[in-house]
């Protein structure tokens, strides 16, 4: 179907007048790259499994789109999950998922690359495959179908998606993705010329074996489940050590793609431990200096300068802090050149400094001064989205403020010193109050405070501590003579993540979290502080997938069959659907989320090395248990 390019374009244009924000589906953005289909050896479509405005704001998309298109051997186009109104029209009219550049069906590319930015987008991944007209499971796809690859932060435990994806890519794309694409493109060419499906399968195996030699490449079908396939029943009956949260740990558990005891479970040639790819030359790594400029307003509608990769602070709950190591900085000189060329190519009036913790950039003052000199005459702004309290410098804020006053956010994360020590967030009440007073004096009217609830060892006292801290910030505002100051509080729910020192911990149940939210709501209400929090069932589903294994693939599959999509959006997330899917697949969800895992247990991601060794995680965990701060 739709071999002719124009035929599909026409159908799409017929739909567009009927949907909201048709600009999501037209392409045509400034700096869009449309390469001749026949002039290249490999054609990739980058699929962002969420709506256009979210996907277009993502730095990974900008990097990969530019990186692949800059290579004469390849082309890269884009597709996004269509919003439900569009999807319904597409299904009615028989329009498959298509790429914005050429309006070709996604299924006609050689490689379909998904980015996994958050767990709740997994149902959209499956829905995109189905909209593309592809079989969900790799084993059911044929030689003429594209390779399905996936990368991004969630690839550090991609097991719930393992049966659907041919190749996962762990780590950073800049230096290895093109090598992988080359191998896959050659394989696809051979498959398309092959006599029959039998021959295709042989080529497939051969190609994947070549692929696993590339750093960061993980081919899930080369790893099989180990022992423990049977889900242990009745965790409560188990005896064993008492852990951090005071719950008993099971002795034996979990299902793994086993590498334990080695060889029998790993296909020959595949590494027992897959190491993530790390960019060695961050300074010289590809930087998208001609990023796409959309017309409809996207979430982050500005130019991004990646000043630093990685974060050395070592907060124990933080997956990003663990998996993006080591910490690397770009030089001020390079950044200024990048800023200039980006502004010229886009016409943006704002540059945002991107990193996990911009205040830690060693030459931040020098950089800001340089940028101001460059931007002020052009009437452009700098924004610093990730300034945080512990590294906060009023001087920096003042520099940024010179051009525009943006709201300030602080992330103490926990309400008491004890709990902050447990999570290794080195912030004191005194720091917070002092800085708050200072910035109120400087003229800011609004401060946003970020907390996390449900952290390991948390008690009511810690929650009370949040309320107390907010009271202290309000008092600081008063001292600074700002009675009208606005303080807003946001409390997200802690979700234990793989590759962190808290990967073994139990997640609070939705019921417990609801109680905690109610407690905070009541405490903050009297102070007339705006309080926002997350949907507890969404956090539960996120936690399920984050530390899930391959059995959850069945759950995802039945969710997809039931029509689940946009689960990261409160208005589309249906927790009943998730519960039903678990029942249908015969999987006990709480077994993944609400129990403390034993340190001896093989975790589903133990064969994936994302930069921090397990011994270090264990040591950090022990420190947390002993309520000591500090890090390696």
């Amino acid at each position: 179907m739709f071999r002719e390019k124009g035929e599909l374009s026409e159908k799409i244009e017929g739909i567009l007048p009927r949907v909201a924000k048709p600009g999501r589906y037209t392409g045509g953005e400034w700096n869009m790259m449309v390469k001749d289909w026949r002039s290249v050896e490999g054609r990739m479509v980058f699929v962002f499994p969420d709506v256009y405005e979210v996907g277009m704001s993502n730095l990974a998309l900008r990097i990969i789109y530019g990186l692949v298109n800059a290579d004469s051997r390849f082309l890269c186009e884009r597709a996004f999950a269509p919003w439900p109104d569009m999807e319904d029209c597409m299904r009615d009219e028989g329009v498959p998922l298509f790429a914005l550049e050429s309006k070709r069906p996604v299924a006609s590319f050689d490689v379909v690359g998904f980015t996994l930015q958050y767990e709740l987008s997994y149902t959209n991944v499956l829905n995109c495959l189905s909209l593309a007209g592809l079989s969900l499971r790799a084993e059911n796809r044929r030689g003429g179908d594209p390779w399905i690859i996936a990368g991004g932060p969630c690839a550090c435990n991609p097991e719930p998606l393992a049966p659907f994806v041919d190749v996962f890519f762990l780590g950073e794309a800049e230096e290895q993705l093109l090598v992988l694409l080359d191998i896959l493109a050659v394989g696809k060419l051979e498959q398309r010329a092959a006599r029959d499906e039998q021959a295709c399968r042989v080529i497939r195996r051969k190609t994947l074996r070549r692929a696993v030699e590339v750093p960061g490449v993980y081919v899930p079908e080369f790893y099989t489940h180990g022992r423990g396939l049977e889900e242990p029943s009745g965790i409560a009956e188990r005896t064993g050590v008492t852990t951090l949260t005071g719950q008993p740990a099971p002795e034996e558990s979990d299902v793994i793609p086993a590498v334990a005891g080695g060889a029998p479970y790993v296909a020959e040639g595949a590494p027992e431990l897959v190491k993530k790819a790390v960019v060695r030359d961050f300074e010289g790594a590809y930087f998208p200096d001609k990023p796409l400029v959309p017309y409809l307003e996207i979430v982050h509608d500005r130019g991004s300068l990646e000043i630093m990769r990685g974060c050395g602070r070592g907060c124990r709950f933080c997956q990003a802090g663990m998996i993006y190591r080591p910490v690397r900085e770009r030089s001020v000189e390079t950044l200024l050149v990048q800023a200039r060329s980006m502004l010229e190519a886009t016409g943006y009036d704002e540059v945002s400094l991107v990193s996990l913790s911009s205040g830690d950039y060693s030459r931040i003052n020098e950089l800001l001064r340089g940028l101001m000199a460059e931007l002020e005459p052009r009437k452009c702004n700098v924004s610093l989205p990730s300034l945080r309290l512990d590294s906060f410098d009023v001087q920096i804020a003042r520099e940024v403020q010179k051009v525009r006053k943006s709201g300030l956010t602080f992330a103490p994360e926990a309400g008491t010193q004890r709990l902050r020590d447990v999570i290794n967030k080195n912030v004191t009440d005194e720091d917070l109050f002092r800085v708050a007073e200072e910035v109120f004096r400087e003229g800011w009217q609004q401060i946003k405070l970020y907390y996390m609830i449900g952290l390991p060892t948390e008690t009511w006292e810690d929650l009370e501590g949040i309320v107390e801290q907010v009271r202290g910030v309000l008092a600081a505002a008063k001292r600074a003579g700002r009675r009208g100051a606005r303080v807003t509080v946001s409390a997200s729910s802690f979700v234990p993540k793989p590759h962190t020192p808290f990967q073994w911990e139990a997640q609070d149940t939705p019921e417990t979290l609801l109680e905690k939210q109610a407690f905070l709501r009541a405490g903050l209400k009297v102070m007339k502080v705006k309080f926002s929090y997350h949907d507890v069932y969404m956090s539960w589903a996120e936690g399920l997938l984050a530390r899930g294994d391959r059995r959850l693939a069945n759950v995802l599959e039945s969710l997809a069959a039931a029509g689940a999509r946009f689960d990261g959006w409160t208005e589309y997330f249906r927790s009943e659907m998730w519960r039903e899917a678990l029942v249908e697949a015969g999987v006990d969800g709480d077994w993944y989320t609400s129990r403390v895992r034993s340190e001896e247990e093989r975790l589903p991601w133990d064969h994936l090395d994302c930069g921090v060794r397990k011994e270090i995680l264990l040591r950090e965990r022990a420190k947390a248990n002993a309520l000591v701060g500090g890090q390696e």
């Binding site: 007048p17 600009g23 017309y295 307003e297």
Partner: protein
């Protein structure tokens, strides 16, 4: 200095929402290094003003925008125009620009007329002999029927907007409807297609879309317009001079 710019909005660009056009021009001007003047104050915004918003999805063959830019020397105007043209996305073409004399009325205040071309299929109604039916339909669109329809005191139309239904009288917004062309039995289902020119009133009181007018006409006169497949373009926006003649916004 203020410039009035005429441009097209076609192809993919026709799906750009009206509200997003300001940002589009802002960025294109920045890339072209033609500096736009910003308002003073706490939240400065670029001095860009449009006339009548063109509904999303409609082609605009000659739309207008007024933009205040930093003074350009006359001899640099041409060069700036070329730079600007090269910074416009596909579908947006800068047709002309001119410096506005002092105290020229704003587009918003000036424009009172919009001219649309509409190509719209008419569905075959079931149970009728094909040939007969086509003839009938075309006769429905003749001058007398249209005049008769327009001679009504008021024409009510229910507009659906964000889930709410508002009833409004669209008659005051219609200047004229004329049949430009017709092509009987374009496809196997026996539908035909008509091409119409619809002239509407623009102004402070709001506006109506050509498809709304056809919706009402079809309802009253029993014509099954396939409005989902209508191709609508706005060929121009105008103002009426004292003699009642149509004048383009650059004729000031």
């Amino acid at each position: 200095m203020k410039v009035r710019m005429a441009y097209t909005k076609k192809e993919a660009a026709r799906f750009i929402a009206h509200l997003d056009m300001t940002r589009l021009f802002q960025r294109a001007f920045r890339r072209a290094a033609v500096e736009i003047v910003y308002s003073e104050g706490f939240n400065p915004h670029p001095k860009i003003s449009f006339g009548a918003p063109l509904p999303v999805g409609l082609v605009g063959e000659r739309e207008y925008v007024d933009i205040e830019v930093m003074d350009l020397r006359f001899e640099h105007m041409r060069e700036a125009f070329v730079r600007l043209s090269s910074q416009m996305p596909p579908g947006i073409e800068v047709l002309a620009w001119q410096i506005l004399p002092e105290r020229t009325p704003k587009l918003m205040a000036l424009l009172d007329t919009a001219v649309y071309r509409v190509e719209v299929p008419i569905r075959n109604t079931k149970g009728q002999e094909r040939g007969v039916e086509v003839r009938e339909r075309l006769s429905v669109m003749n001058v007398q029927t249209v005049d008769h329809w327009l001679a009504q005191k008021g024409i009510l139309w229910e507009r659906k907007k964000e889930g709410k239904v508002v009833t409004l009288d669209i008659r005051p917004f219609i200047r004229s409807i004329s049949l430009v062309g017709e092509s009987p039995a374009a496809d196997a289902e026996g539908s035909s297609e008509v091409e119409l020119e619809i002239v509407t009133v623009l102004g402070n009181a709001g506006s109506v879309r050509p498809t709304e007018i056809l919706g009402a006409f079809g309802r009253d006169e029993g014509v099954a317009f396939d409005l989902d497949r209508a191709r609508v373009k706005r060929t121009g926006v105008y103002w009426m001079d004292v003699k009642g003649e149509r004048r383009a916004p650059d004729e000031v």
